[in-house]
């Protein structure tokens, strides 16, 4: 079980973070190709989001009525779009935050608990990137602390 790489895409479709954890798992691409990959994935994700219709929940009178008897209006879950892409040798898991930032995790096909790893990566992003006064939103991530914590966490998983 190996985690190969992590890519973070900002809400405009730009590549803001690209990191390989395991040599030999995936072939190296040129920087330009990674930018194209990020942009293309962003576009495909946007289209698949439109493909998936939003479920309209009927307000059931028993469960969702407020204290005054008025029905509580609930916002339906936003359509999720493309989440997993699997090939013979790797699996690409996508996680979209509520603000539209995308985390793409490349793992081998047998990797378990990807959502747990993803949750931890998101947690580290919100700690060491979003709480850093020197980080400018939507710009490439250059935070030593984030790099350090991320590599030690992924190394732990890969050495299990």
């Amino acid at each position: 079980m190996t985690v190969f790489a992590l890519i973070i895409i900002n809400k405009a479709g730009g590549l803001i973070y690209n990191r390989t954890f395991h040599e030999g798992g995936l072939n190296k691409l040129s920087t330009n190709d990674y930018l194209v990959l990020a942009g293309t994935f962003h576009g495909v994700h946007a289209i698949t989001t439109r493909l998936n219709p939003v479920k309209i929940e009927r307000p059931s009178t028993a469960a969702s009525s407020g204290p005054g008897g008025a029905p509580i209006l609930t916002r339906p879950d936003p359509p999720s779009g493309l989440e997993v892409l699997e090939s013979e040798n790797f699996r690409l898991q996508c996680f979209t935050t509520l603000t539209g930032t995308k985390f793409l995790l490349f793992t081998d096909t047998t990797q378990a608990n990807i959502s747990v790893i993803m949750g931890r990566v998101y947690e580290m992003y919100s700690d060491y990137v979003m709480k850093n006064p020197f980080y400018q939103l939507e710009m490439p991530i250059r935070c030593d602390m984030f790099d350090r914590k991320l590599s030690s966490h992924i190394r732990e998983i890969n050495n299990k």
Binding site: D127, K131, N132, P133, F134, R142, D144, M145, F146
Partner: protein, 219 residues
């Protein structure tokens, strides 16, 4: 005017005017505002607040020195007030302010750090250089304020714990030990990669402080 007159009456009847103290002698200054068991605050909300403070200090500065000075100035009044607050919470016997350098530095290492960060500072040292006997060092292996901060490479001399240095400076000034306090990153050099954020707070006392200390030592 009428209601002011009536408001003054009860106080005058009981104690002849002036402030009234609770019978057990504990005023509101003796207890923390936050009543929970550990009286801790959320580190995340502090991190966001501090991040904005650094961003605010960064506006219209000319250089890193200037930025550190601004952070220092933000911390200074906190230190001044903290000295009074922490002393009044001490038991009545030890309520006097520290009277020599060692007592002052131990007060900072122990009480001030415990109150601010929930633990003591790691070390207090005197400068080993014989030419600078006025310099003392307070060492923190992982400053809480820097927990989530990565300083960009082009600003590598900056240490945002300059804010804490300002607090320490305020405490020293308030206790009548005027000093200049600066924060320096030393991690990743002498101790390997063990404490990458290790910070030294260099306390440089004014000459008159050492002069007084020497006179007191003789007497």
């Amino acid at each position: 005017m009428a209601h002011m007159g009536t408001a003054g009456k009860p106080g005058g009847k009981e104690s002849g005017g002036g402030l009234r103290y609770p019978t057990n002698g504990k005023t509101i200054y003796h207890r923390p505002l936050n009543r929970s068991r550990t009286s801790e605050l959320s580190q995340a909300s502090f991190a966001y607040l501090f991040s904005e403070m650094v961003a605010y200090a960064q506006k219209r500065v000319t250089g890193i020195q200037d930025l550190e000075k601004r952070l220092n100035v933000q911390g200074h009044p906190i230190g001044l007030k903290l000295l009074d607050l922490l002393l009044i919470r001490e038991p009545a016997r030890t309520q006097t302010r520290p009277l020599n350098i060692i007592a002052l530095l131990h007060f900072i290492k122990g009480n001030v750090w415990q109150h601010l960060f929930g633990r003591q500072a790691n070390e207090v040292q005197r400068s080993s250089n014989a030419e600078t006997p006025d310099e003392y060092m307070i060492i923190d292996n992982e400053p809480v304020v820097n927990a989530y901060i990565s300083v960009p490479r082009e600003m590598s001399q900056l240490n945002c714990a300059a804010f804490v240095a300002g607090i320490v400076e305020g405490v020293c000034d308030g206790a009548a030990f005027p000093a200049r306090v600066t924060a320096h990153t030393v991690g990743g050099k002498e101790d390997g990669e063990m404490w990458p954020g290790k910070t030294v707070f260099l306390v440089k006392f004014q000459p008159e402080v050492l002069e007084r200390e020497a006179l007191l030592g003789k007497g």
